[in-house]
Symmetry: C2
């Protein structure tokens, strides 16, 4: 399945999303470092280090921090992130009292665009933000093909992300390049589907997808 040579990848965020991606990317043969605030305080399946070291030693940075905290976490790391590809899987939502997305934190724009604006020397690519975390590294387990929507301004960065997605099990036909980073407005808005989908389906793997 591996179509690329090994890439150095930092995964920021050690919640379910980050842990799943770090494990899956390492299993695909990449050199993964989990960037966490306090390395050593918890057991991880992959190497963990502080965030600065993880970024410094990696070419591809995966943002799996909560989307409503991402800007404040990453804007100060502009120099460290320069020249790197930032694969952003997060959604910036306002949580309801039940802990589920109740609205969009940036309804007139997208977190993807705000990140690209704040990090002009970094190549931001948005993808994998329209599914339950477990699908990100196991898309073939669904009964119908899912879609990985991809948004980003840099063609080379999107090509790299596409090969990484393929390493995670994404068939090339399931990867849909929507265009520039502004198209993340559409995929981020789909986060508003999550509460009702979980209510209707239960906590099962799902991916918002385009049937054609």
């Amino acid at each position: 399945m591996t179509t690329t040579s090994s890439i150095t990848i930092a995964v920021l965020g050690s919640g379910r999303v980050g842990s799943t991606l770090a494990t899956g990317l390492a299993a695909a043969g990449h050199e993964v470092t989990l960037g966490v605030r306090n390395p050593g305080t918890a057991q991880h399946d992959v190497l963990a280090s502080d965030v600065a070291t993880a970024i410094e030693t990696s070419d591809l940075i995966v943002n799996a921090t909560p989307g409503d905290t991402t800007l404040e976490r990453l804007v100060g790391r502009r120099d460290a992130l320069a020249g790197k590809v930032l694969l952003d899987v997060s959604n910036a939502t306002v949580l309801s009292t039940d802990g589920l997305p109740g609205g969009l934190l940036y309804p007139d724009v997208s977190l993807g665009e705000l990140l690209q604006d704040a990090l002009p020397d970094t190549k931001v690519v948005k993808t994998l933000n329209t599914m339950l975390f477990s699908v990100m590294t196991a898309p073939g387990n669904l009964t119908t093909p899912p879609t990985a929507f991809v948004s980003g301004d840099d063609v080379d960065a999107k090509r790299l992300v596409r090969t990484v997605l393929q390493d995670l099990g994404w068939d090339d036909d399931w990867i849909l390049d929507l265009g520039g980073i502004s198209t993340a407005r559409g995929t981020e808005a789909m986060a508003l589907m999550v509460p009702s989908l979980l209510g209707a389906l239960g906590f099962v793997p799902f991916a918002l997808t385009v049937a054609r």
Copy 2:
């Protein structure tokens, strides 16, 4: 395919969406009246009459008017719509200069909820608002199964809509009841995907769908 007895249905809106639905519902054996502002000025595939007559003579009203005009069109018809089911397929978007959805007209709520609030004696059901119009009456033509998301507060109204969807070719497994009308916030937000999907895919039949 017809699982219900014939229903009297008014379709409001004679654009591509309304025309497609009116023709498809008539072909499924229902008594369809297209409600238009100026009956007789254009050729239609089904009976056309003025909007008031179409509503008066029908049990199920399909709203296929442009979503950014729907509230002003329907709020004044509150008495005529009382006791009826309103199947709303519209999306209320702010159009960009290219004529495609550039934002949501009601970003903090949904048109479905605003209609239900304005028409308390009408049973509002939102569905079919997440696909190209041609898929609404030909869902089986896609290569993978699409989803018809359904939102509404009234269980009986949603049951009626489900049977009408089945008459249009929707497999029962493809119809997903999301819950109350407030869940239309999620499906309406997916309208923001339309410009980039048309850009990426071209003008081909598509439906935003949940893979699981």
